[in-house]
Amino acid sequence: MTAARPEARPALAGRARMSPRRRAQLSRRIQYVVLVAVVIVLAVTADWGRIGEAFFNKVAFQNIAPDLPGATLNTVVYTFAAFAVGLSLGTLLALMKLSSVRVWRILATGYVEFFRGIPALLVVLAFGYAIPTAFEVRFDSVILQIALALGAVSGAYVAETLRAGIQAVPKGQIEAARSLGMSSGATLRRVVIPQAFRIVLPPLTNEMVLLLKDTSLVFALGLGTAEFELTKVGRSALSQAGGGLTSIIAIGLVYLLLTIPLSSLTRWLERTTGYKGHA
């Protein structure tokens, strides 16, 4: 090869193509045009009068509004009660899964597989009807009943989350603590769990959001009006005449008001826990 001049390179000399930057720009413009078109079509074809009537009906909203604070409180109470049960049970199961005693590991694995594999509604029904019959116990409070039922399910998920979090703490951390003479219990409490906590915080929040929504299953227990939570209130309002789906919209908004702050809470906890240091 002698004197290879630029013209001798066909790849560069060929027909002028659009540059990658220009192509990406064009692609973005097309996507915006499609999006705007879809919005325009929806806005034009929708019957706004009827939508206002059926979804944002003022009268229907005024009917349901007085029930919302109580229902919200019930939802929150059910959630926290179930989460308390789920977290305690999950911690126990996670420690069982990490135990050196084989029987504990087998039992915990069996539990997790069972409760992860069946719908939560079945468990709620079991606590409503099957367990009272089988063990001749009567649950006086709906809170206790729903906390045990949903907590039993949630415990299975929490157990897996915690186990993964504990195992994600580097082995060197445990070795460092043990080589300082700390017992395995002190190592777990002072070194492993504080670090695992930060790791499991986002998935645990997720679990809490799922629980919050699962509290709607409480209807299967048969409730007095004072025990209604959000979904039950919304469904009852739905069966009353007029207002269409307004109650569902209202309930949905309340759920969002509860769940969205939870995500910010997680971010805040992640930021503020753990030592940042100064100077």
């Binding site: 060197g172 951390q173 070795e175 460092a176 043990r178 080589s179 670090q195 940042k276 240091g277």
Partner: protein, 256 residues
């Protein structure tokens, strides 16, 4: 805290360690006297770290006996936590507790294990942080320190338990070259103060200048041992010579 023991600090006899089928240590006999600095060298996979980790039972020996400060740690019923409070360990990866400040790293075990008051633990910790030249970083988080500083904190953390023996597992291998010196300087001071030390290292100059004795470990056995000048300066064994050539002159490796 630690009472000086009349006998040897570490006494290892017939130590074997296997990981499954693989036998990593194949009959180690080693005695370390009070105040001695013993450097363990050898190729990777020769069992150096495993030997060190058997001494405080981070690895459970397969066979043989180990006595540390007069206590047999290979006894199945040994209270290993008690023995470990007298044996400091420094790891290649520092292993500082990231969720605690530098000071808390040094006080946690003092308070948990030795049940010292917060004030006493902090006084001891500050004394040792000063010793490694990091008293001014007591309130920093470990993540804010350089590798060399972190390793010095790890040394201060171990020293805060007033150990009678210090184990160093390749303390400078994870450090940038320019940070190795500050850690070795701390270790040298420690040796000069009479601390009994077992050091797994690739720093031949440190072994030569600070070590009282050098042990060359090869394929799970002690192939050669003696004063640094002899083992490093005039090794008898061919494999020791080959190893030292590879370490001291790494650009002229014979590829076979």
């Amino acid at each position: 805290m630690s009472t000086p023991t009349p006998g040897p600090v570490v006494e290892i006899a017939g130590l074997h360690k296997s990981f499954g089928e693989r036998e990593v240590l194949r009959g180690i006999d080693l005695t370390v006297r009070q105040g001695e600095v013993v450097c363990i060298i050898g190729a990777s996979g020769s069992g150096k770290s495993t030997l060190l980790r058997c001494i405080n039972l981070l690895e459970q020996p397969t066979a043989g006996t180990i006595h540390v400060l007069g206590t047999e740690v290979t006894d199945p019923d040994v209270d290993i936590d008690r023995v470990r409070t007298h044996v400091g360990m420094v790891f290649q990866q520092f292993n500082l507790f990231p969720h605690r400040s530098v000071l808390e790293n040094c006080t946690l075990a003092q308070r948990q294990v030795l049940h010292r008051s917060t004030a006493e633990a902090e006084a001891v910790a500050m004394k040792n942080l000063e010793h490694v030249g990091l008293a001014d970083r007591a309130n920093s988080a470990p993540g804010q320190l350089s590798g060399g500083q972190q390793q010095r904190v790890a040394i201060a953390r171990a020293l805060s338990m007033d150990p009678a023996l210090m184990l160093f597992d390749e303390p400078t291998s994870a450090l940038d070259p320019e940070l190795v010196g500050e850690v070795l300087a701390v270790m040298r001071t420690l040796a000069e103060e009479g601390m009994t030390m077992l050091v797994v290292t690739h720093e031949m100059i440190f072994a030569r200048e600070v070590g009282d004795r050098v042990i060359f470990l090869d394929d799970g056995v002690i192939l050669e041992e003696g004063p640094p000048d002899q083992v490093l300066g005039a090794p008898r064994e061919e494999r020791t010579q080959a190893f030292l050539r590879r370490v001291l002159d790494p650009t002229h490796i014979d590829p076979t």
